[in-house]
């Protein structure tokens, strides 16, 4: 076998697939090669150490302590008691969202009410335009302000008022 072949074989043996070790026939060929090739012998030492160390990391198969089951059960019970309550959590979340929606609707209604009944400021107008807009209270104000209640007096006052306000 060449060094290349030997190394390939060794790498295979080093993996778990070769757990049973090196087959007797191959072992002989390998031994013959290693006796004359120190580089491959060195490689085998490297692989062997790697294999031994990696195998050592694995804990032997064993049964867990019986107390472990009790521990797991207790932890699961704790988890369940937390997850039984989602009903209340869901209910609370639902109540909160209903309250928020109700508040929004209320605010909307109040806002609409205020908008509808808003007071539009009325600008003082002259008598004639007030009359034409049927704003009688404004027309009254002008008439009451007139001192001379003769026909001419009233007409003069109205004319003055109209001019001034224009």
């Amino acid at each position: 076998m060449t060094c290349r072949e030997i190394r390939k074989r060794m790498a295979m043996w080093a993996r778990a697939t070769g757990r049973e070790g090196i087959a007797a026939a191959e072992r002989e060929a390998l031994a013959a090669h290693l006796a004359v090739c120190s580089a491959c012998a060195e490689e085998l030492r490297h692989l062997a150490l790697k294999r031994v160390l990696l195998q050592a990391t694995r804990a032997p198969e064993a049964d867990p302590a019986p107390s472990l089951y009790a521990r797991v059960s207790a932890r699961l019970r704790q988890e369940r008691s937390r997850s039984v309550f989602p009903f209340w959590e869901v209910a609370r979340a639902f109540a909160t969202s209903v309250a928020i929606v109700a508040m929004l609707i209320l605010m909307l209604l109040v806002g609409a009410n205020v908008y509808i009944h808003r007071q539009i400021p009325v600008e003082p107008r002259d008598f004639m335009s007030a009359l034409m807009e049927r704003n009688f209270s404004e027309a009254e104000r002008v008439v009451f302000a007139v001192e001379d209640l003769s026909q001419e007096g009233v007409l003069t006052a109205l004319a003055t008022e109209s001019r001034e306000s224009r």
Partner: protein, 220 residues
């Protein structure tokens, strides 16, 4: 396996137990815990030797499985599904662990050093076929592997030691096959580099005892 998946009055199958758990039957999940407790505990044992750590991981695994029970697909193997959760819990733990900066012989105890020197003094064949495991070997390995990244450590153990294929590792971890292959390549390179350094460091002490051929190998 077949018995577990079939539904009989005496031995309820995994699927039935899952459904009963989902419906709120607390006892049903406890049966699954008892059924697979040992298997999960031993999956944790692939990565951690300390019993406390293995117990913590077992508990964590069942808790996660319980919380994710609704994601279990009917018809799939429950055991496989659970083992996936277990390996990932181990991986999470590996990620949480403090990583060592580098390996040094000075970090080894007297016994661990002796083990290493004796191992290197043995003929390579003998070392290669050594089946006997020792606590010292485990401690040396732990210190060496602690210098690897969690991903490297995981693929190294699953592939090199346990003999899983890249496809199997990919399925367990939810990684693509190319990611596993790249990881594996890097992990091998990283571990080999550390091992060679360890061999170099440990050699002067062991060489004086019983290794004239390794000196020749070096000189060649």
């Amino acid at each position: 396996m077949e018995k577990r998946n079939s539904t009989s009055e005496l031995v309820p199958g995994d699927e039935e137990l899952v459904e009963r758990s989902l419906a709120g039957d607390a006892e049903a999940f406890e049966v699954l815990v008892r059924r697979y407790g040992r298997a999960v505990y031993n999956v944790a044992g692939r990565f951690f030797r300390q019993p406390e750590m293995r117990e913590d991981i077992t508990q964590e695994t069942f808790l996660k499985a319980y919380q994710a029970l609704h994601t279990y697909r009917r018809g799939a193997s429950f055991e496989r599904w659970l083992m996936k959760i277990a390996v990932n819990a181990c991986y999470d733990e590996l990620r949480r662990m403090q990583r060592r900066r580098e390996f040094s012989l000075a970090d080894l105890s007297e016994d661990e050093r002796t083990w290493l020197e004796e191992a290197l003094a043995k003929p390579a064949f003998e070392l290669f076929e050594q089946q006997q495991q020792s606590e010292d070997a485990a401690a040396v390995a732990e210190k060496l592997l602690a210098t690897l990244s969690p991903e490297d450590r995981l693929v190294m153990l699953l592939y090199e030691r346990d003999g899983l294929s890249t496809a199997e590792i990919g399925e367990l971890m939810g990684w693509s096959r190319s990611k596993v292959k790249i990881r594996l390549f890097r992990a091998r390179r990283a571990l080999d580099k550390r091992l060679r350094r360890m061999l170099q460091m440990a050699r002067p002490a062991s060489a004086s005892k019983a290794k004239p051929e390794s000196q020749r190998a070096k000189g060649k």
